[in-house]
């Protein structure tokens, strides 16, 4: 990876790696992801021999240790992969869309909408299991983002600044309403306390599969708008001059990031820093090319999430730390170091 570090050759000049190096970097990232996937299945709060892990995956039996692999480690690994990729890509999308390096998916009210919907589901409707309120979270994220999109639209289309302001305002209102509900309903408070931490534990794959088609649609939309987003990074006027359809690009991008962030939040709860930090890392490696940033984000974000989850399983043995807590601890210092080392993460 060090071969891909950007060089500052002088004031105002930044050397970015060529397509070949970007591709090599992508392969390295893919290899690292595969290693993390293997480690995630092998490492846990219970010591299980690698041979048992192998048998659990390829020669399944009713051995009690094999259940630990198939029923717990494998699902959380798949959840980490899917949620990580979704958060990374949605973060790259929101930063490109708003041309704001500090933007993350929560800025459009995704987390606020999902959290509020879960609070209503638990506190008002009595939904108790995660399979029940996951869909409320997804619907809440979608409805709130569409509302923000409506509020943030002006006669001249959607302005990134107005969109962000609308997202912040709606998020604040829903946050207050959510807290009021939680204070009057201890059950809702308990459910939200756990959900808000952000975790990939106890999410059966049966709950994840139905979300995947939404992610697939979002993936196609995201890469479809990556070219226009490159042009929009130079400003709306220049993008228009290049024939970019601004409104359509923004709508596609918002739909994609909402499906990704809403789905990820519905499955795992709000997990911070992944969507904020990973696009910075990707931009640092490949420069301001959205398609490459998106591709790198899809691979790098699960690496961070899986590494954080593995760390969370072993540092507090026999208990575990939710992955959302670990990503905050790991992500914040790394982000600070990256931002201080290079200007390449700026937009």
């Amino acid at each position: 990876m060090t071969a891909l570090v950007l060089r500052h050759d002088g004031p105002g000049t930044v050397t970015v790696p060529g397509p070949r190096r970007r591709l090599i970097g992508l392969v390295v990232a893919l290899a690292a992801l595969l290693v993390l996937l293997a480690l995630s299945v092998m490492i846990g709060s219970t010591a299980i021999a690698p041979s048992v892990v192998w048998d659990a995956l390829f020669h399944p039996s009713d051995d009690i240790d094999q259940f630990a692999i198939r029923d717990y480690r494998l699902p959380r690994t798949v959840v980490g992969l899917v949620v990580g990729a979704a958060l990374g890509l949605s973060g790259a999308l929101i930063q490109a869309l708003t041309r704001n390096p500090l933007a993350d998916p929560g800025i459009l009210g995704v987390h606020a909408g999902a959290s509020f919907a879960v609070t209503v589901a638990v506190g008002v409707l009595g939904v108790r299991d995660i399979g029940g309120y996951m869909w409320f979270a997804f619907a809440g994220a979608l409805v709130v983002t569409i509302t923000v999109l409506g509020l943030g639209s002006t006669r001249r289309g959607q302005s990134p600044v107005v969109l962000v302001l609308a997202g912040v305002c709606v998020g604040a209102v829903l946050g207050g309403a959510r807290e009021a509900l939680q204070l009057t309903d201890p059950d809702a408070f308990d459910a939200l306390r756990s959900w808000n931490a952000g975790s990939v534990v106890g999410r059966p794959l049966d709950l994840v599969w139905p979300i995947l088609p939404f992610f697939a649609v979002a993936l196609v939309l995201a890469f479809a708008v990556s070219g226009p987003l490159n042009a929009m990074a130079l400003g709306d006027e220049l993008a228009l001059a290049q024939g970019v359809r601004l409104v359509r690009t923004r709508v596609f991008a918002i739909v994609a990031l909402t499906l990704l962030a809403g789905g990820a939040t519905a499955i795992a709860g709000p997990i911070g820093f992944v969507g904020l930090m990973i696009p910075h890392v990707a931009r640092w490696i490949v420069g301001p090319h959205q398609r490459w940033i998106f591709a790198y984000s899809v691979l790098l974000a699960p690496i961070l999430l899986l590494a954080s989850d593995i760390l969370g399983r072993v540092v507090m043995h026999p208990s575990e730390i939710p992955v959302g807590v670990v990503t905050a601890f790991v992500g914040a210092p790394v982000l600070i170091v990256l931002v201080r080392r290079t200007k390449a993460s700026g937009l």
């Binding site: 846990g44 709060s45 219970t46 029923d71 717990y72 459910a191 534990v201 575990e320």
Partner: protein
């Protein structure tokens, strides 16, 4: 009514309260309520020695004192809220008593002080976290004599103190006699079977993180361990209770070392709603104790007063009766 009284220090607390609960009658011992009107005696609890009416007529209960006081026949005129799940576990007549009282707020820190003062109570009985009592202490004591217990108080000492302060000792005496009888019965019937068996008690609550459970060493299991003599794992001296640690389902396999598993069920014998995800796992089904019929569902409606504890003992008795002899 699932006060998480910790095992550590519980014995000390019991001795302390038993010894410190001093009643100094200032008047006659006459049973007539009129004779006792205006008379006071001193009661010692976690907030010191308090002078309270011998025959309180207008009692307000705050926090965990509400259901135990009602369980002992008390009729509070003001109460703080009780969760629907707790309310669903108590007898109908006790529920009616609770609902007849004025609701003063969701919890101790949300008590409507103006409304409380308006009730003109002659005694306030309170149990909730010590940290919440300090800011309320002066305001409560300005309204009526207040007897306070922290959550670390051992349940029998708490029941004794509550009964004496609230003048419901007659019902308590009957409950205690029944408790002793049931404990002795279980010890005599199953003593030989349980002597060589290692038990582990599991639990899971509505607030538990998804995919986690706990080895619970507080609550009703303390009665099985301390009063009946069953062998359950417990935290090392000075350490936090085992039940405070959430364990991932992955670690269920490590329970294979125990002969018998006890787990929470509702009044109908079904796993409690929070615990149901545990029994649905393949790991649970593969545990030796489960596959050999040595996983015992036990109903624990509460462990803060004798009424629910008696129900627990009945359930434990029935569960132990299904235990096959150890091979």
């Amino acid at each position: 009514m699932t006060t998480t009284s910790r095992r550590s220090g519980s014995a000390t607390a019991a001795m302390f309260l038993s010894a410190a609960l001093v009643l100094t009658a200032c008047g006659s011992d006459g049973g007539d309520a009129d004779d006792k009107a205006g008379e006071t005696h001193s009661v010692t609890a976690d907030n010191g020695t308090i002078e309270v009416p011998v025959d309180p007529q207008r009692v307000v209960t705050i926090g965990n004192t509400t259901l135990p006081f009602i369980d002992m026949g008390g009729e509070p005129m003001g109460v703080t809220d009780v969760s629907a799940s707790e309310l669903g576990l108590i007898p109908e007549e006790q529920k009616a008593t609770f609902e007849a009282a004025t609701n003063l707020g969701a919890s101790a820190d949300q008590v409507d002080m103006e409304q409380l003062a308006g009730l003109e109570p002659d005694l306030i009985l309170a149990q909730f976290p010590e940290s919440e009592f300090e800011p309320l202490e002066k305001r409560l004591e300005s309204i009526a004599p207040t007897v306070f217990w922290g959550l670390g108080t051992e349940w029998k000492a708490f029941a004794d103190g509550l009964a004496r302060a609230g003048d419901v000792t007659d019902e308590l005496g009957e409950q205690k006699a029944e408790f002793e009888s049931k404990v002795t019965g279980i010890q005599e019937t199953y003593g030989e079977i349980i002597d060589d068996i290692s038990f582990v008690n599991l639990d899971r609550w509505a607030s538990s993180d998804p995919g986690t459970y706990s080895i619970a060493d507080f609550g009703c299991v303390e009665i099985a361990q301390d009063d009946i003599g069953m062998d359950f794992p417990e935290a090392a001296e000075g350490q936090d209770p085992l039940g405070w640690t959430s364990l991932p389902f992955e670690q269920l396999a490590e329970l294979s070392e125990y002969d018998v598993i006890t787990y929470p069920v509702d009044a109908e014998g079904r796993p409690t709603e929070p615990f149901a995800p545990v029994v649905e796992t393949n790991t649970w089904k593969a545990l030796p104790a489960v596959s050999s019929g040595r996983a015992l569902g036990v109903f624990c409606p509460g462990n803060n007063s004798y009424g629910p504890v008696l129900q627990y003992l009945d359930s434990l008795d029935a569960a132990l009766a299904t235990l096959p002899a150890k091979e």
